[in-house]
């Protein structure tokens, strides 16, 4: 039996835990060590908006229509995918500055 801070018993399915998005690490050469974009697949409805409006082509569609990070080194932290996602399933990595040294 799990209890919340107020002492009420909570179901396993109700207990959602908020985790911090991993911060994207960039090495000296300007390459990402970790993915700059966090996709929460349980909420994704595969509408394709994030892939269509990504300005640098960082994202691509999987066979089932869900997005994945194809070229993490291209991400410029514009957060366009974050703002246009209707399901709050995709987030740009935690407070990142806009990158200008993008490899093309």
């Amino acid at each position: 039996m799990k209890k919340n801070s107020q002492g009420k018993i909570i179901k396993e399915s109700d207990s959602l835990e908020i985790v911090k998005v991993k911060e994207s690490k960039v090495d000296d050469a300007g390459d990402y060590q970790e993915s700059p974009i966090y996709i929460y697949y349980e909420w994704c409805k595969k509408c394709g908006i994030c892939v269509a409006f990504c300005p640098t082509g960082t994202l691509a569609s999987r066979e089932d229509g869900a997005p994945y990070v194809k070229y993490p080194e291209k991400c410029i932290h514009c957060e366009r995918c974050d703002m246009l996602c209707p399901d709050y399933a995709i987030t740009g990595a935690a407070p990142g500055e806009r990158r200008t040294n993008v490899k093309k």
Binding site: I18, V19, A52, P86
Partner: protein, 294 residues
């Protein structure tokens, strides 16, 4: 155990509610709710000082998912309930979320009279040109010649221009934006919330399931591209000749003025009358006293 990312929007969601939300894939409601939550975060308004009121419809399910004081009311009457909240608690930021059918058809009179009264409400009309929830019936904002399930040969009725309607009815802040222009929408929501007076924002949204299929738009992506290509900012439109902006939808802050606000005028009236009453009471007391003395 489910893990969800912590970003601005997720701080304002009711995580006990069933997620993912009920809206169809590619629906604009989620995008617009995200813009609104970012605007509230940027303004630094406390959760408890916001009351979000909605009627019936797809967009009116927004207050269910957010962690404010929320009220889900009858069809078209959201503005009437919100007027009650604002008059009893004038310090609250009352935000009304309605759809186009909710605001312009069933609650049309409430909309124009809230604008006429100039009561300090932020009315956000999510305009997807159709009654999405009930199966795609023709609404007052379905453009002329567009298809709906009750207009299989094209709509015969010209549509409402909600911004012109709100402006002529007397609202002090009128703006139009789209689901595609997220940053512009966020800035307009910030100004609309801060504005003292009735602020009406017409947000053009997409309904890929009911409206998009019948009108051969394809997908939600195509509808967002349509919003991008067929709208023009009000600043740019003022410089162009009228033949170049023909057929384009003008977005941006269309009208912004300062007018006497209803709750402030109401407070003034109360203080005025109670002041007068106390004076008249004193007068009557004095009369009685003088009467006794005589």
């Amino acid at each position: 155990m489910k893990n969800i990312p912590q970003k601005v929007i997720h701080q304002y969601l009711r995580h006990r509610k069933k997620f993912p939300h009920v809206w169809c894939p590619g629906c604009g409601n989620g995008i617009i709710l995200g813009d609104l939550l970012r605007a509230i975060y940027n303004l630094g308004i406390e959760k408890d000082s916001i009351a979000m009121v909605s009627g019936i419809g797809c967009s009116s399910r927004m207050p269910v998912y957010v962690d404010f004081n929320t009220l889900h009311t009858t069809h078209g009457r959201a503005i009437a309930f919100a007027t009650g909240i604002k008059l009893s608690k004038p310090e609250m930021n009352v935000i009304v979320i309605t759809g186009d059918g909710d605001a312009a058809a069933i609650g049309g009179n409430h909309l124009i009279h809230a604008a006429r009264r100039n009561i300090d409400l932020t009315i956000i009309i999510i305009n997807n040109n159709i009654y999405g929830m009930t199966g795609g019936q023709c609404s007052p904002t379905t453009p002329l010649g567009r298809y709906a399930s009750t207009a299989p040969y094209g709509s015969l009725e010209p549509n409402f221009d909600l911004c012109e309607l709100a402006r002529s009815a007397g609202a002090s802040f009128v703006a139009r934006t789209t689901a595609y222009h997220t940053t512009e929408a966020r800035e307009i929501f910030e100004k609309a919330i801060l504005k003292k007076g009735c602020s009406i924002v017409d947000v053009i949204s997409q309904c890929p399931i009911s409206y998009g299929k019948l009108n051969n738009f394809g997908s939600a992506v195509e509808m967002l591209k349509w919003q991008r290509d067929n709208t023009i900012p009000v600043e740019a439109a003022s410089k162009l000749p009228p033949e170049k902006i023909k057929g384009k939808i003008i977005r941006g802050i269309i009208y912004d003025t300062d007018k006497p606000e209803f709750t402030e005028e109401y407070d003034k009236l109360i203080t005025h009358l109670t002041g007068e009453l106390s004076i008249s009471k004193n007068k009557s007391v004095n009369k009685k006293v003088t009467g006794k003395a005589n």
